[in-house]
């Protein structure tokens, strides 16, 4: 009775979170206005997908309960790490104050004096560029001379040459003997009104200076040294801008939202594939190769029978991709089950073979001879997944993914094969003694996992790109590992982790586009997530440290027997 009530509690928390998430996404997407929403084509389907995202959140919380908190904390921790990395990459933002084009001029109402050997005459403009990148000896300081007479009232100006340049200038005036007699680092608003070329307080001006004697004067112009405060300030600002794009960029417009959703659908399929293999305790990373072959098979069908009815060609293409994935999953399955060949090595090798094969067929057989880049023609409208949101790649694949999630869940929990997979995964020897045909189970688990990866390939070719191109997936299988791990290989949780991870990936794209921070930051975050989520003793480690520190404080050591027993690690 108590358990039941606790479940109800989690269900309610999950549903509340679901409503909040659905509401938030829809609100951001339509800027909170009903008119914007009504103006959007197919807004009903957009809301439907958002509701599905919400449902995935509810399932996540309901299935994992307290585990959900740990996953959430891990993701937050990894995101914080990502923030530090991004900040690190942004450390040079303040450098823009010492880099850029500038102009220098001296103005006076006095008569200009033309003398040989000086650089400037009243009213002339000299220019240059400080610390130009990619130059062997960049300009760090510029020096100009001019001839002046006693009593001339001059103004010396140094300013950024154009709007793109943000260099922060400093100007020093010295007399013939080299003594600095005037200097400036900023300009006031009034000065900027007086001298039209100046734009900001980073420009420097020495205004209305009366020259003390006749002779050659020197102007030294250089960028102001950047203070640590400015560096940190600029870094944090740039990082905040980048993270804003990272965390909210995917909700800016419907086409960005679609990038997120379409990526999530692929990731959910790949995640399911990985999870199924992991459930049988097989560290198979073969999804990548299966995905390529699935894409190839469906693409060949779509190109060959593109003029047939969509009711015929799409199912045939799906069937082809499923078969390709199944066969390519069966190979490492057989090798592992009957020959005990290390599945990690064999799947990684088979991946490369599949990708090379895909490249070979694409380059020499499917690419139209006259095409400039390596890609097939676009598939005909009959041979693609029909979109459910106009002008996006959010297609009926949504329903295929829902079906796949339910199918994998049913397979694992309601069928003999699923039971055997879980038995083998929990303890292979025990399963063997218990009469399970472990070899057949391992083989089938890896082959069925291949089916899902093949489907993901079909989604890439017929749903997203609508043609075959080179590098159709770069390491999606590895992303699938994160999705499966975060979900603890639970098929009902995978939709949420798929949406979450795709959200980060989409965000990283927009961060790269908007803030020029490398997309790879998200892969660093990914590595951190894997490390943190698999570190079982993470909490214990910190507790142990605290105890040890306490013990040290008291002056005793933890007894030797308190050390955890050494376990033989997974080998081979």
């Amino acid at each position: 009775m108590k358990n039941a009530s606790r479940s109800w509690g989690w269900l309610i928390i999950g549903l509340v979170a679901a409503v909040l998430v659905t509401g938030f996404i829809s609100f951001r997407l339509f800027n909170g206005s009903v008119e914007t929403m009504a103006a959007q084509a197919d807004y009903g389907n957009i809301i439907l997908v958002n509701v599905l995202v919400g449902i995935s959140v509810a399932l996540f919380i309901f299935q994992l309960k307290w585990g959900a908190l740990r996953v959430a904390l891990t993701v937050v921790g990894a995101l914080l790490l990502g923030y530090i990395v991004t900040a690190f990459f942004n450390l040079d933002t303040a450098q823009r104050f010492v880099r850029g084009q500038f102009e220098v001029t001296v103005v006076s109402k006095a008569v200009p004096q033309k003398v040989d050997g000086v650089d400037l005459v009243y009213g002339d403009i000299a220019d240059g560029e400080f610390n130009k990148s990619g130059v062997r000896t960049p300009l760090t300081e510029a020096r100009y001379t001019f001839q002046g007479s006693q009593g001339d009232v001059i103004s010396a100006l140094a300013y950024a040459a154009n709007r793109r340049s943000t260099v922060d200038l400093q100007i020093d005036l010295s007399d013939a003997s080299g003594t600095v007699i005037a200097s400036a680092t900023t300009s006031t608003t009034e000065q900027r009104e007086l001298f039209e070329d100046m734009r900001s307080d980073r420009d420097a001006v020495i205004q209305d200076f009366t020259l003390p004697a006749n002779g050659v004067y020197t102007l030294d112009v250089r960028p102001e040294a950047v203070s640590l405060g400015t560096t940190l300030d600029e870094t944090i600002q740039a990082t905040n801008t980048a993270y804003d794009a990272f965390l909210l960029g995917a909700l800016g417009r419907v086409n960005r939202w679609a990038v997120w959703i379409q990526d999530a659908l692929t990731l959910i399929l790949v995640g399911l594939a990985i999870a199924l293999a992991f459930r049988a305790n097989q560290f198979s990373l073969g999804a990548e190769g299966q995905l390529y072959l699935g894409a190839l098979a469906s693409g060949v069908v779509a190109l060959a029978w593109g003029n047939m009815s969509p009711w015929l060609v799409v199912p045939i293409a799906l069937l082809a991709s499923i078969t390709a994935g199944f066969v390519w999953g069966l190979i490492p399955g057989v090798l592992k089950a009957y020959l005990n060949a290390n599945e990690l090595v064999s799947t990684l090798m088979l991946n490369t073979i599949a990708i090379r094969f895909y490249d070979l067929v694409l380059t020499f057989q499917l690419k139209p001879p006259e095409a400039g880049y390596i890609a097939t023609d676009s598939f005909s409208a009959n041979a693609i997944f029909p979109p459910i949101v106009a002008e996006t790649q959010v297609t009926v694949a949504v329903f295929i993914v829902i079906a796949a999630v339910i199918a994998v869940w049913l397979l694992l929990t309601r069928t003999p094969l699923g039971y055997e997979i879980r038995m083998v995964g929990a303890n292979q020897k025990f399963a063997d003694y218990g009469g399970v045909n472990t070899k057949r189970t391992i083989m089938l688990a890896m082959a069925v996992s291949g089916i899902l990866a093949g489907l993901a390939g079909a989604h890439l070719s017929m749903g997203i790109y609508r043609q075959l191109l080179i590098n159709i997936s770069i390491g999606l299988a590895f992303e699938g590992v994160v999705v499966a791990l975060l979900a603890r290989n639970d098929p009902l949780v995978i939709p949420f982790t798929g949406f979450l991870y795709a959200y980060l990936r989409a965000g990283a794209q927009f961060m790269e586009r908007d803030a020029n921070v490398s997309f790879e930051v998200v892969r660093i975050i990914q590595a951190a997530i894997i490390l943190l989520i698999t570190a079982e003793a993470l909490t214990a480690f910190f507790q142990q440290r605290r105890t040890r520190q306490k013990n040290l404080h008291i002056g005793t050591h933890a007894p030797e027997s308190a050390k955890p027993a050494v376990e033989r690690s997974a080998n081979g």
Partner: protein, 466 residues
Amino acid sequence: MADAIIQGIFSAAFLASILRVTTPILLPSLGALISDRAGVINIGLEGMMLGAAFTGVVVSAYSQTWFGPEIGQVIGPWLGLVAGVFVAVMMALLLGFFHLRLKANLILSGVAISFLGSAATVAIMFELTGDRGNTSTLASLQIPFIQLPEFINSIPVIGPFFFQVFDNQSAMTWVAFISVGLVWFLLYRTPFGMHLRASGENPTAAQSVGIPVQRTRFIALMLSGLFAGLGGIHMSMGYLSLFQRDMTAGRGFIALATPLLGGNNPVGTMAASMVFGFFDALSNRIGSLQIPSMLPLMIPNVATVLALVIYALQTRQSQRVKALRASASGDFNNAYWNILQRLSLLHVILAMLAIIGVIITICLFAAPNGFGGSEVAFPIGFIIAAASAVLIAINVPFLARVERISQHAWYSGAAAVVSLGIYVGLFLSLFNAPTVSFPLALLVGAVIWSALGGMRLNGMAHSKTA
């Protein structure tokens, strides 16, 4: 004359290129071997190689700015080497910390380290050079190449050949092959090596006799990081002179397979690495022919999968022999079974090589345009398919039941010699005319077969099987 024959069988340039491409597999393989023997499989090798390769390039390039061009040119490569290896060892330390202290799953955290290496190098490269593909804008340096003294060239018969193979190899190639001996010494002749092997074989027993298993494993992981780092340095500062995104191209993963195939000892690991080096060099060699570049690039990976299968079959075979020996204690003829095992391995390898033919056939039929159109590709495809089918058919009977090798010794011998003749002949045709290659190859096949004991088998066949 002798010179010409040696040149005919092994082109010196080809052997030299085998050494060159073996190095980046051998070094991480030694790392994998050490960590395997300590019972901690190191999946992060790939990431550690990338980390080292990238750091080496960056440090060697920047050392010219730090120390001026003259000094920088000299110490830059070594500074890069040290920094790169340091980074790799630190990554290994991270892996060790997460697995040994935080009890993270070793395989998954190894995968994470691989991600980290791949992602962080690209991200930092993008920041430093604005390029995501390679570091061609950085003026990075190479580890020096070692020139042999001239007098070796003047030694008669083998001198020039030896000179051509070993001259102008990267210092890292020498380091790699010398390391084989060092690792052997470390594993089998030092107390630490014994602790390491004990920690791998039975950690509980090792712990109970006072071996610090955790610390040993930590050090083993760091040593494997060191070798992975050296391998990475060779990739970017010897093999090539720049860093490319994901330039190790799976060598860190291939390195996981080689110790398995080499019987988990340094010399075997070296032999297995050289087999991969052979296929790698072969794929470069074929790459110069009129064949789509994807096909030769597949070969090392196909070879790995095949090698895994061969290893598995071989393990099963030797288990069976062990069982036989146990049951037939006194009556057991060791020499007989050794020959049988060797010959069965030969048949396994010969049958497996035909799989490459099957894959080539599939490629020919799937993309005939790549091979000069369907008129050319389909007939060739049929020929290769038929040849592969025949090669598999004549070798497989001896895989299913080993006893058949002795029962039909002459038939087995003929199958082996003919198959060997075809493979070796194909290989030699890369360097010589086919009319010379195939007869020579049949001769080589016969020599190999009898060297493995095929001739002696006939006499023993029926005496000891009952």
